[in-house]
């Protein structure tokens, strides 16, 4: 707990996958008890497959989507295990970082 701001430590997991994989990733989030997540569709950037422009106008499913979820640290291992298996056969990016939230009850 941060003394000045009353923040609670959590873990943030960010995943970049193809848009059509987002429902499967969301199902994994739900399986470990996440009650919400954030999705940013048509993200762009440079990766192993070259530069992704993020400008597919009439196709949401074959662009890239960034999914973010914040969890109490004790649930992270469950999710990571699933996500690593999921990404074993697909392109994607997985990032894990420490974060703090001001309303921890939203992320239980």
């Amino acid at each position: 707990m941060d003394d000045e701001w009353q923040l609670t430590a959590m873990t943030k997991i960010e995943v970049v996958v193809g848009g059509e994989e987002s429902t499967a990733v969301a199902a994994l989030f739900a399986e470990v008890g996440a009650t919400g997540f954030t999705a940013v569709s048509n993200v762009s950037g440079l990766g192993h497959d070259g530069y992704h422009q993020g400008r597919l106008l009439f196709n949401d499913r074959n662009g890239l989507v960034l999914l973010m979820v914040v969890l109490p640290s004790d649930r992270v291992a469950d999710l990571l295990d699933g996500l690593r298996a999921f990404l074993a056969s697909r392109p994607g990016v997985l990032m894990v970082s420490d974060t703090s939230v001001s309303r921890p009850e939203y992320f239980q």
Partner: protein, 828 residues
């Protein structure tokens, strides 16, 4: 060794289930049925590897059969020379099949003797669940609903005995826990999970396909019971595990499904009628390679004819058209465009029939409907409103529709209640019998009378689609962006005619569960008129035009956009919002409608030749009869024989009879130097065309596995799918009558040939930055031909990304030399 039931384990279970479900394509409900590539989620493996998976998992034959190629050879759709050339390509390293044995590891299914009995039980519960007849409907999940009922289900007791049924009742309450328990019971560790899941899914591929749609494609908030993949697998695995455990106490008898369908009648290497050279070429290949070479040969034959027709000269440029008409890219539009262009000074365009608007649309007094390709989520919300000064008429229409709807609802309710149908027959038989007789004997006239009655009950009222920024939540700027994208992508940014018609399409058929498959795929299996109306409403707004002018697209004030719809079953046209058309356009509009009526009649005659070659009499009446006849199994051929997707200006194809086999997407490479429009075309409309193409392809090459069976024995289940006869698995794909004329394939199963007129470096840049295009072109799901300019030679893309010049065979149709523009691509 197995894990205990933990969230970690559950996350892994879901991942393996998702992986296993790649062998299943999604099946949309009947109301929004669209064509899909059944192996879309295996596209990364390449076409040939996916065909191998289809064989291992479903015992399916994914290539044209020797019987088919014998027929094609006999009718000239392929020649010995094509075969020789195809064998060279099939054995060329850069063009050979993608995929490797490693990639296929883990894709197999096992069939157990009990499969049919287990399937009957699972299918029974799936149907009951989706009909909201299980406890907790419609909100409860499938597994808990089933679990609450199975403990008293006599079917479970008959299959598994009292003890077995009690074991089902003792399963955990959650689907994931039940799956984990079953996997433990079967002694499977993680390496075996995927194959087990594939086995469960492949046993009932129709219900699994519905579950795949629900879990992976259904929009959030889709109403009705949700049959999710995890629940479906939990239920089937529960029966299977209990049965297999029971069998383990006695001798079990297992058989591989792959061994049951391997007996080809002919060897593809010894097809009669081949030249010595072709026979010798095929003899150097194994059986599978020989079948692949035959497919390539069929495709090359079509390709050579098509590219031979698309010569270096421009035809059909219309400098000062009376009207411009934008049709959907649907292959059926090619016919009407050809006939309309020959009827007057009209310029036509091809663009996806949702006209660029990812629209959630609410018709007056109706529920919202999503009118957009399934690759998109709706971001535009628009409504139909009463026209200015026509509020009273709109109220009368709504009241009439309410009466009609209540009558229809009461009739349906009565039919579904126990003894009431008998009373209904007694009470209503005197009226109904003559109506039924009229409907059966004179369907076209009956349809006209019914239409007039319907208009009496709910008289038409002038309405309009509201494009005001306040109600659409789309600012003028956002509306202008949609308009700019649509116009730029279709290449219509200058030279606007006084009248521009956006023409959607739909198909009027009777008693046809798969009716949506004949409507507009770009509108999510709905009719296209409302999308056209919405786009016109935006394009006619002055603030939008002002913003477009700032972006270099100057639409003259004298230009008006009008919405229309092509009924592809009758080749008739409806126009909309005519009360909004300025008076100075009425004469030109009347002329256009007249020309469309004549063009439609000519197209009807052309189509009737395919539908009923022996027909005589008035073709217009004949196609109307088919459309209105509730006993008609082939109201139209839909997109059968689709084979190519052509991207370029209409001057590339105008005047050429492409036999309604080509998706035509307008494109002007001159106004798209960055390739944005071309990227949009290749990553969305082409993907949809590929789905349609693959649905027709697989449904034709192995109808037992990939087609929906015979229409005459279809039963609709819960409004979402059909079964053949009573109960059992849902049928996937298209009905046989959409593919076959009698016993002979009407559809010609070829992979899509995409033809682009644009700089090849631009095309390569687009492919390089889009994995989906690398998969489709590199995996030989779609062939690609292109030329930099009209006068440049055609180049063919090999799967390794290199290009080779198209070498026209000596016997191919000569290049269009301008002496005639009346050519056609033959299809035997």
């Amino acid at each position: 060794m197995t894990d205990t039931a933990t969230p970690t384990r559950h996350a892994r279970l879901l991942v393996e289930l998702d992986e296993a479900a790649r062998v299943i394509g999604p099946l949309w409900p009947l109301g929004t049925f669209i064509a899909v590539n059944p192996f879309w989620d295996l596209r990364q493996l390449g076409f040939e590897a996916a065909v191998s998976v289809a064989r291992m998992v479903f015992g399916a034959n994914g290539l044209p059969s020797p019987d088919y190629v014998v027929d094609a050879l006999g009718s000239g759709r392929v020649t010995s020379a094509d075969v020789v050339r195809a064998v060279v390509e099939a054995t060329d390293g850069a063009a050979g099949p993608a995929g490797s044995p490693d990639a296929l590891a883990g894709w197999s299914a096992t069939q157990y003797e009990s499969a049919a009995d287990v399937n009957r039980q699972v299918a029974k519960f799936c149907a009951a669940f989706l009909s909201a007849k299980l406890p907790g409907a419609p909100d409860a999940a499938f597994y808990p609903s089933w679990h609450a009922m199975v403990r008293v289900d006599p079917g479970a007791r008959a299959l598994l005995g009292r003890y077995g049924r009690a074991r089902l009742a003792d399963l955990p309450d959650r689907a994931e826990d039940a799956i984990a328990w079953c996997l433990d019971e079967l002694g499977l560790d993680r390496d075996g999970w995927r194959a087990e899941f594939v086995t469960q899914l492949a046993a009932l591929p129709g219900w699994a396909a519905h579950a795949k749609w629900r879990s992976r494609w259904a929009p959030p908030g889709t109403p009705g019971p949700a049959l999710e993949l995890v629940d479906f697998v939990a239920v089937r695995l529960a029966y299977d595990t209990t049965w297999r455990r029971r069998q383990a106490e006695r001798p079990a008898s297992l058989q591989s499904r792959t061994s049951t369908r391997n007996g080809a009648v002919h060897d593809p290497r010894s097809v009669p009628g081949l030249s010595h050279a072709a026979r010798a070429s095929l003899a150097s290949l194994d059986r599978d390679r020989a079948s692949s070479a035959w497919l390539l040969a069929l495709e090359h034959h079509y390709r050579d004819e098509l590219l031979g027709l698309l010569g270096p000269l421009a035809f059909g440029a219309v400098p000062d058209p009376d009207a411009q008409v934008v049709f959907c890219i649907d292959a059926r539009s090619e016919g009407i465009r050809r006939h309309l262009e020959s009827a007057g000074t009209y310029e036509t365009f091809g663009f996806a029939g949702f006209f660029g608007l990812p629209l959630r649309y609410t018709a007056l007094g109706a529920e919202p409907v999503d009118l957009l390709p399934v690759l998109l989520s709706p971001t535009v919300v628009m409504e139909e409103r009463a026209g200015v000064g026509h509020q009273d008429a709109a109220r009368r229409r709504l009241a009439g529709e309410q009466v009609r709807s209540q009558g229809s609802h009461a009739f349906d309710q009565t039919r579904e209640n126990g003894i009431a149908p008998f009373m209904l027959a007694e009470a209503g038989g005197f009226v109904a019998a003559p109506l039924l007789a009229a409907r059966t004997l004179r369907p076209a006239r009956f349809a006209r009378v019914r239409g007039r009655l319907s208009a009496l009950i709910a008289p038409a009222a002038p309405t309009q689609v509201d494009a005001d920024p306040d109600s659409t939540r789309l600012t003028d700027e956002e509306q202008a962006l949609f308009a700019e994208t649509a116009l730029t992508t279709m290449g219509l940014t200058h030279g606007f005619a006084p009248l521009v018609v956006l023409c959607g399409h739909g198909s009027t058929t009777e008693n046809n569960p798969h009716a949506a498959s004949l409507d507009c795929g770009a509108c999510g299996g709905n009719r296209g008129a409302d999308s056209a109306r919405a786009a016109c409403a935006i394009l006619n707004r002055t603030p939008v035009r002002d913003l477009l002018a700032e972006r270099g697209i100057a639409i003259p004030g004298s230009t008006h956009f009008v919405a229309a719809e092509h009924d592809t079953a009758t080749d008739t046209f409806s126009f909309f919002d005519l009360h909004l058309v300025p008076e100075q356009h009425l004469e030109a509009l009347a002329r256009l409608r007249d020309d469309l009526a004549h063009s439609g009649a000519a197209l009807a005659a052309e189509r009737l030749g395919d539908l009923d070659p022996s027909a005589d009499g008035d073709p217009v009446e004949a196609v109307r009869h088919r459309s209105a006849d509730w006993a008609e199994l082939q109201p139209e051929w839909g997109l059968a024989r689709n084979a190519s997707f052509i991207v370029g200006p209409r001057t590339m194809t105008a005047g050429i009879d492409l036999r309604r086999r080509s998706f035509l997407h307008s494109y002007d490479p001159e106004i798209d130097p960055a390739g944005t429009a071309l990227e949009t075309i290749l990553t969305a409309p082409m993907v949809v065309a590929h789905w349609i193409n693959m649905q027709y392809y697989f449904s034709t090459v192995d109808p037992d596995v990939f087609a929906a069976g015979d229409k005459t024995v279809h039963n609709i289940v819960a409004g979402i799918g059909v079964t053949e006869g009573v109960g059992g698995d849902l049928k996937v794909g298209l009905p046989l009558q959409s593919l076959f004329a009698e016993e002979r394939a009407f559809h010609e199963p070829l992979r899509l040939l995409t033809v682009v007129e644009a700089p090849i470096t631009r095309i390569e840049e687009i492919i390089a930055r889009n994995p989906v295009l690398r998969d489709l072109f590199g995996g030989q799901w779609v062939h690609l031909a292109a030329r930099d300019t009209r006068s440049a030679p055609w180049m063919l893309r090999r799967i390794d990304g290199t290009w080779m010049p198209w070498d026209p065979p000596a016997t191919a149709t000569p290049l269009n030399d301008g002496t005639t523009n009346e050519k056609e691509v033959h299809h035997g």
